[in-house]
Amino acid sequence: MRGRRIAWALGVCACSAATPPAVPDPPRTELTVWHSYRGDERLAFLATVSAYDATRPDLDVVLVAVPHDALPDKLGVAIPRGNGPDVFVFAHDRVGDWAQRSYLEPLGFLTDAALAERFYDETLSPLVYRGDLYGLPLAFKCLALYYDRTLVTEPARTTDALIAQTTALRARDPAVWGLGYEVDSLYFHQPFLDGFGGALYSDERDTLAFDSNEAAASLDFVRGLLVDHKVIPNEATSALVSSLFLKHSLAYVVSGPWFRAELAGHEGWGVAPLPIVSATGRPSRPFLGVEGLMLNRYSKHKTAAFELMTALTTDDAAFVRSQTGGQLVANRQVYLRSEVRDDPFAQVFRAQLGHSVALSNRPHMRRMWTPLKDALSRAIVHGEDPAAALRLARTRVEEGAP
């Protein structure tokens, strides 16, 4: 199945490679697109770009794969000097920073409602900063609950059920663990933070609110999972979690769509929405990240570039990305097509999309990760007082404010 998809995508690439570029007239516009897609996602993206390129003889689209870690810095040095790409793909959480530095062209005046309707509202709004739209969404990423069918017949709907199931499993076989994720990562902790009623900010002005009682309760809860119920393995890195899961030694994994790539060839797993927090009755909402196509503010071919962006976000293109690339695309119509409708994986994540909290795209957000990682590590791993740990993180975040 997967092999066929790749073969198809490769075919498209081969066709596009075969089209001779040696016609000097009419003057061709060259559009550069930077992305950091890998594997199947890359092939799918390549395929959609090539397909569009083939319909536009006046256009040359040059795709450049840039290592993910190097991409923001590269943009940061290239765009201000007029060397940036016309269009690039990145997650939405830097939009605010880049908009402020005027790297990004606002799209609000170029986009119409018909175009906007293609996408789930949840995937569009993270790309809006101070009232302007700065990108067209390609795909979204959020966390869901993977489970091992050989260990769990029915995935837990609530945290209580999850604890009950996993402690039972542990009692039966101590080599089996209940739940795996990086407990000291804010990204992974967010579902519980939210489920317990906590939040990072109390309002739109980045007023810090994570040192609340609710947040402390969520830390206590995870500490309980780790220490009292012992359902989470110690020092669970993503590498360890996936290797345990692959050995059927782990019942549940909190992870995102990327985890599926690591499960290639592995049988007996399923995905479910994240459980409801029993203590509050609230669903645990993970962070939502949206990959958007963004337009360089200094692009010399903004019109052509925007046309390309529009073409890459059509339902058909999104369908290719969904099928070949395994992406969770942002287009609502795609989820109605039979291939996707019948794919529980896509549907579970689509459902989770409705219960998610978009990562803030304001620059301030980037200061949260490390201090909160410390707080989580202090409270959950080392058993320090959660409230104190969170307060400490708050000082660190405030200190980071210039």
Partner: protein, 272 residues
């Protein structure tokens, strides 16, 4: 074999194993069909497959990129060693105003953490018109390698007996002949070490390469290898295969250079 040799070999084998052991995980990951990080207790793949290498080699421009890497590292080595040799010779042999300051300056360049150098370096390379060209990378790499190269060669030159050069001067050799026919042949071990260092500096670097190069066919190999690292997950199988492919030429270069690390090159030249 004598007992002492046995002990020495036993020690060396043990050290070699300790050295190789962590690297075996990389080998194991490279030859596993999976893309997840190998956290098993021992680096032994359950299934051996060449998929990762096949994927790697079939990447667009792979061999072009390998060529780029070789070109960049080769040129960096050549240029770095050449300029370092002359500079180190001057620092070792001539007493000129600014000599100590120059030496200190070379050392000082290594002291500022490189993390903040990206923006100005980019602007410089751009203003020289060398963005997206191997020449730009060669320029940056060779200058970053130069401080160590100069210091290392200077240290070695300092140990070379000066009478040999004076003797050559008396024999009618000009400064260049002295440098070329006497100093350089005698410095082969240090030059070999310096060359290896320059080569490695250029060979494994990817941050600057990824920033300066904006076409995939212009990339160096480490950039491609680093592309396997994503925001949330990494294709470890591909990465490991890439890491192995990247490290093989280094070993080959070292193997070629190490015969220059022969003993007692200056022996018999001077006494006392």
């Amino acid at each position: 074999m004598r007992l002492r040799d046995l002990v020495v070999h036993a020690g060396l084998v043990a050290t070699s194993l300790l050295t190789l052991f962590p690297a075996l995980w990389v080998v194991s990951m490279a030859f596993r069909p999976s893309q997840s990080f190998d956290t098993s207790l021992l680096p032994i793949p359950e299934v051996i497959s060449l998929d990762n290498f096949r994927d790697l080699f079939s990447r667009p421009h792979f061999f072009r990129q390998l060529g780029n890497s070789l070109l960049v590292a080769g040129l960096t080595t050549a240029i770095g060693v050449m300029f370092s040799c002359t500079a180190a010779y001057a620092f070792s042999r001539f007493r000129f105003p600014g000599r100590r300051a120059g030496l200190l300056a070379l050392l000082v360049t290594q002291m500022f953490p490189g993390t903040l150098m990206l923006i100005p370096l980019y602007a410089l390379i751009e203003s020289l018109g060398l963005l997206n060209r191997s020449a730009g990378l060669v320029l940056v790499y060779s200058t970053t390698a130069i401080p160590f190269c100069v210091w290392n060669l200077k240290g070695y030159f300092d140990t070379l007996p000066r009478e040999l050069e004076e003797s050559a001067m008396m024999d009618g050799a000009g400064p260049f002949v002295v440098f070329w026919r006497i100093v350089l042949p005698l410095s082969r071990p240090a030059i070999a070490v310096t060359a290896l260092f320059s080569f490695l500096t250029a060979w494994n670097e990817f941050i600057l390469a990824a920033t300066f190069l904006s076409e995939e066919q212009a990339y160096t190999l480490p950039v491609t290898v680093q592309s396997f690292v994503g925001a949330f997950s990494t294709e470890w199988g591909h990465f490991a295969a890439g890491a192995l492919v990247v490290s093989l030429p280094v070993m080959a270069v070292f193997f070629a250079l190490q015969r220059h690390l022969v003993g007692g090159l200056t022996a018999g030249g001077v006494k006392g």
